[in-house]
Symmetry: C2
DNA sequence: CGAGTCGTTGAACGGAATCAATCGTCGTGG
DNA sequence: CCACGACGATTGATTCCGTTCAACGACTCG
C-alpha cells in the first residue's frame, strides 16, 4: 500500500492517533465498520474465523499500510485485527472519509490508484506462489521487488518475507544461503542484492 | 467482479462492441494502455510471460467482468489477454473513462467498490495458497466460494480451478475424488456440493 | 476423422515441510 | 544492571506428500 498517496489526501481529515498494545484487538470480526485505519508503526494481523472453528490468517499489515480498506464498502468486518507488536495507528471516521472522497475527486482517484496498485501487487504474489521450486520462487520475488540497483530493502523480518511468498522460514533461510554461496546474491544488514 | 456496478455507471460512455475469435489476442504484454475493457460474453485469460520464458495464468475473466483494471493507471500492460473462447468485448477509451470518472463521483465510487471486492478476493486466494495440505486447501477454497446451499458452480474448467489455488490439476482431481469417497463432497455436472 | 484439450489414474521421485536444537539480540522488569 | 523471556535467525535430520512424467479415455470442434 502506497502511504504517500494516502497521506497526501487524508491529512486534512485530522485523524486520531491511537496506540495499541501487543496482542490487543483493534476490531473483531462482525463489528460494525465505523473507522478506516492506517498503520503508522508496528504490525497488525488480520484473522478470519472459519466455519469449522479454525482461524485463517488473511493478511499481515505492516508499517505504512492501510488495511481492511475493502471494509470501507461493507457494513461489518469480515475479519479481526490484532496487534502482533506494539503499534501506532491513525483512525479516520468512515463516514467522514466517504463524504470527503465524494467531494474531492482527486482524493478518490488517489484511493482508486492505490487499490489498483494493490490489485497488481496481489496478483504478482499470487503468481509467485504458483512457482513450485523454492529457489525460483525466491529469485522471482526478489526480481519483482528490487529497485534499479537490483537491491531489495527488507522492511520486515525474513520470517515475514518467507510467509509472504508462501515458504516456511527455514526453507527461505536455506535458499538464501544457497544463492549466496552460488554468488547469485549478496546479503548486507537489511538488504538483498542480486548479482 | 461485480458487473452490475460497471454496467450501471458506464453506459453513457457509449462503448464500442468488439468481437474476438478464440485464441485471438486482445492486447499483448508491453502494449500501451489505451482502452479499458469489459467482457460481455465469452472468456478471456490473462497471461504473463515469466522471466524463465514460461507463461503464468494471472486471471480468467468471465462474462460480465471487466479486467486488467489496474492498467487504468499504468502506461503499459503487464500481461497479455487472449480469448479462451469466442468472446464479445466492450471497449472504452481510457482517457474518456478517466475524464468521466472525474466528473461523476458516483461512478468512481462504484469502481472503487469493485476494486475493494477484488482486493478481498485476491487476499483470500493468497491465504489459501499458504495452506500446505492439498486437502485442506481444497476444502477451504470451496468453503469460501460456495453459496448458501453449500454449492459451488464451476465457471471454469477444473484445471483452471486447480491453478487458481496453486495445485497441479492431477493433485486437485485426486483430492476431489478422495473427498467424494469420504462423503464430504458431491459432484454434479458443473457443481461441487459440500456435505 | 484427427487435433486439441479436459479429465483421470498410476508409479516413482524429490524437495519442501516438519520437528528439534542452538545462538544472538532486544526489551522489560525486578 | 542483570536475569529473564520472547523472538528472529540458523542449521540438522527425517518424513511425507505433492509434483512430475506418463499413459489413456472422453469430448468437442473444425
Amino acid at each position: 500500500m502506497n502511504k504517500h498517496i494516502l497521506e497526501q489526501f487524508l491529512t486534512d481529515l485530522k485523524p486520531l492517533g491511537l496506540p495499541l498494545m501487543k496482542g490487543e484487538h483493534l476490531f473483531f470480526q462482525g463489528d460494525q465498520v465505523e473507522n478506516f485505519y492506517y498503520l503508522k508503526t508496528g504490525k497488525i494481523k488480520l484473522i478470519r474465523n472459519t466455519i469449522e472453528g479454525g482461524q485463517a490468517l488473511i493478511h499481515v499489515a505492516l508499517a505504512g499500510e492501510s488495511f481492511a480498506e475493502a471494509s470501507l464498502f461493507s457494513s461489518e468486518y469480515h475479519c479481526s485485527a490484532i496487534a502482533v507488536s506494539t503499534s501506532e495507528i491513525m483512525r479516520y471516521k468512515k463516514s467522514d472519509l466517504l463524504v470527503y472522497l465524494e467531494q474531492k475527486p482527486a482524493a478518490m482517484k488517489g484511493l482508486l490508484k492505490m487499490f489498483a496498485q494493490q490489485v497488481r501487487d496481489l496478483r504478482t504474489v499470487n503468481e509467485i506462489k504458483n512457482i513450485r521450486s523454492a529457489k525460483e520462487r525466491v529469485l522471482t520475488f526478489i526480481s519483482h521487488e528490487m529497485n534499479e540497483d537490483k537491491e531489495l530493502y527488507l522492511s520486515m523480518p525474513l520470517k515475514d518475507v518467507a510467509y509472504k511468498i508462501g515458504l516456511t522460514h527455514e526453507t527461505f533461510y536455506r535458499e538464501l544461503k544457497k544463492l549466496e554461496q552460488a554468488r547469485k546474491l549478496q546479503r548486507r544488514d537489511g538488504f538483498l542484492k542480486l548479482l
